[in-house]
Symmetry: C3
Subunit: 330 residues, 3 copies
């Protein structure tokens, strides 16, 4: 354990630029918790999902938005410093097009604490992102959201957004660089809204969104951000959930949305890297440590030239593995 | 019937911007009629396909182009005011690259009447569209093609066009806005020419053009225009035709090309929205009407935020359903 | 034989612009030969693969790079004028990001002869190409690489490159036009590096890279360059190799990488055009010859308008067929 952890540290300090990503947040399973329900919010610390989404958007009726906002703000302060099972607790606000994001942020900003991640649904264009960053600047004041550990997670849910996704993701990363506000760390594919947008019907075969899901992964991975897969709707079909989770992992997704706690363990185990992958990552980290000791030059491992994206992947796998093992001990 | 129709009117008048699309033309099945054959042109009024394509392009030999142009022009005037079974009768001219479009339009412009839609094959670039709009301006004079009810339907049939499709579709819509000429309303995927262009071979499994067909749908729906699927070549295989029609509908296509009248009823029934979809659309229209009475604000229906593309979809479904029922009565 | 060859010549001379592509290099099967092994390099003249890749990159350990460079340079001079079974013998240098390309070219430039093709792995951006052309200019001096018969073959192996591929391919073609250096003739999909880049796992079903492979083909064919498919890893599974080779051909690929001589004949026979395709191409060439004699105007064949990409395809098929038959006689 110790030896590989220190390999990661070697990796980080040796390889300039990889360092910034050292704090890896596992997001194998995302679980939604509607902020309108105080009862459900109270359970958040004990939820075992990797990432808990305190929900102000689709999971909350319009009449309940105001209550939900206040509950979410209170939860942020209550949760601060408290032990929790999840690796991340985020708040999902309403979309730009809903016209409700400003109200959400005005109330959330009253909390002393920031969530681990701000979560933004239905990002449709680079212009949406400019509005989002402006709104945060206004409601939170720049000093509260600059150089924070808070991350950004966003949802892509329309044909327009999918087609323009490289520009959307790069704009999010560039706005982080120029403002110092939260860094985009993961993108989630909102397949139900996407299918509604193009008029598609979900089938059991699942071919209808192959193009969308695979393009989505490519657009995430081209910018080294996590790719989170669609919801599996049939709560009773564990076999189907496992099959689609594994398909998602094989296609390059790093995690999956869940809509019920019963789905979480299946999804989590499906998105755990295989023993071979973990071994590959640990040996690569060790070899890279050796390589760095011996001086500069190109680095090759198991017959493959190792570049920055592959180093990052190895580090992420090791950190995921260790985070999960660590959490298992609690 | 009446109540939902008036819901649509409420929808239209209430929701600025949706209004323009109120006149929805069903295009579940397109059928080609070669303009070289006077005998077949005479049957046009009795054809039950949603959209009849009077053909000057691939369906007409080069030696017969001139006759076909004159026949098509004569048909436009003969058909005017006559009862017809189709929702649309369009004329498909030759492509920009053929060098024959000017000759086509010169002869067609002699007719007193415009078709319901001008249909343009093999649009390959935004530059093609600039040429097309210029040629219409020259041959028809602007006054005859400005603010007309005539629509534009175009074909995407090459790898280059598919890759550049977002720019092509947005250019067509922008040229409509700046000139007032025909609005792009539907795009058709010319899969045989596409497969020839990339050197692909059609298989019974049909996987070879999955990427092309799904990207095509995304590019159409991102701009809210109809997406019309490939031809099914095997005239005897009704089961296969039904299977591919339903696959197309599930993937988000709004209709399909047919090459023989026997294919039309199967395609039409496959592209009819399901009872659940129609119910969803009618209830959404009703709920939106109520919502508008009560004042402003975000609108949510069945737990989903309803935005402009979804409102448009609901309206289109209701209009398709009513148009089809109306036509059934004739 | 003779008559169709002269049809091709008619085609070429008649159809301005098609001419330049007359020299078609079949690349049904590419085979890698590590330049670190003098023993394997000695066998190059007798290898029956269409295109032999003398390898300096992934197939050569870092410690062996220098030896491999010298071997490759020596091989270029030894091979000059010698009879050979392959249609092409190329050298694959190290990638831009490896930092080793300059050293590769410095040593290769000492050889009197150029390879038939320079082969460049991991091209990730138009900026990479600018660096590549600059480096060739510096190491080879412009006079040695201008207006040569040497072609360029490049590899696309990352999500970033796949997303930006239209710009990458057009930049390569434009840099050829502006410098006169080697023309891009084929692009190879490096699926293992691509899957590693997006974190995907290869499955026997093979769906995980459908989007990538089909987008790749579209991006190649939009610019009329050859598309070379992924490696099939399981050396013992001939049935699987044949199945994936045929799938690749049906999807529009023109050839496939191989990693062992035993794979070559299966791949070569899978990527041979069918008898019907060859017949189509020969009859089209003949009809086009007749058409040109009779004067100008649009050209239609078997009910399809024939444009430049289709003429090119027909010429390529005829030349592939004749090159293969010719080679069979040796």
């Amino acid at each position: 354990m110790r030896s590989s952890l220190s390999s990661v540290r070697q990796l980080s300090s040796a390889f300039q630029g990889v360092k910034e990503s050292a704090r890896y947040v596992p997001r194998r399973a995302l679980l939604y918790v509607p902020a309108s329900s105080e009862k459900m919010l109270a359970k958040v610390p004990s939820i075992h999902a990797d990432s808990v989404v305190i929900e102000l958007e689709d999971g909350v009726a319009i009449a309940a938005k105001d209550t939900a906002r206040k509950n979410a703000a209170a939860a942020l302060d209550k949760l601060a410093g408290q032990p929790r099972k999840a690796f991340e607790i985020g708040v999902r606000v309403n979309s730009v097009s809903s016209g409700m994001m400003e109200d959400d942020l005005r109330v959330l900003a009253r909390a002393q604490n920031l969530p681990d991640a701000f979560m933004i649904p239905k990002v449709d264009s680079p212009e949406d992102l400019a509005y989002i960053f402006d709104t945060f600047k206004k409601e939170y004041t720049p000093s509260r959201v600059t150089d924070t550990k808070t991350r950004m997670v966003m949802w892509i849910e329309s044909a327009r957004a999918l087609l323009d996704m490289p520009r959307i993701v790069s704009t999010a990363l560039n706005l982080h660089k120029s403002t110092g506000f939260f860094k985009l760390d993961a993108v989630v594919f909102g397949s139900d809204d996407y299918c509604a947008d193009i008029g598609a019907t979900r089938t059991s075969e699942g071919l209808e969104n192959l193009y969308a899901r695979q393009r989505f992964v490519a657009c995430c991975k081209a910018f080294q951000v996590q790719a989170i897969d669609s919801v599996y709707i049939d709560l009773k079909d564990e076999e189907g959930l496992r099959k689609y989770s594994e398909q998602g992992r094989n296609w390059g997704f790093t995690g999956k949305q869940t809509i019920h706690p019963s789905q979480v363990p299946i999804v989590q185990s499906s998105f755990l890297p295989s023993t071979e992958r973990i071994e590959w990552a640990r040996e690569l980290a060790e070899a890279y440590g050796e390589h760095q000791k011996e001086g500069k030059g190109a680095f090759s491992f198991r017959g493959q030239m190792i570049d920055r994206p592959l180093l990052l992947q190895a580090m992420n796998i090791i950190q995921l593995d260790e985070a999960v093992k660590e959490a298992g001990k609690q």
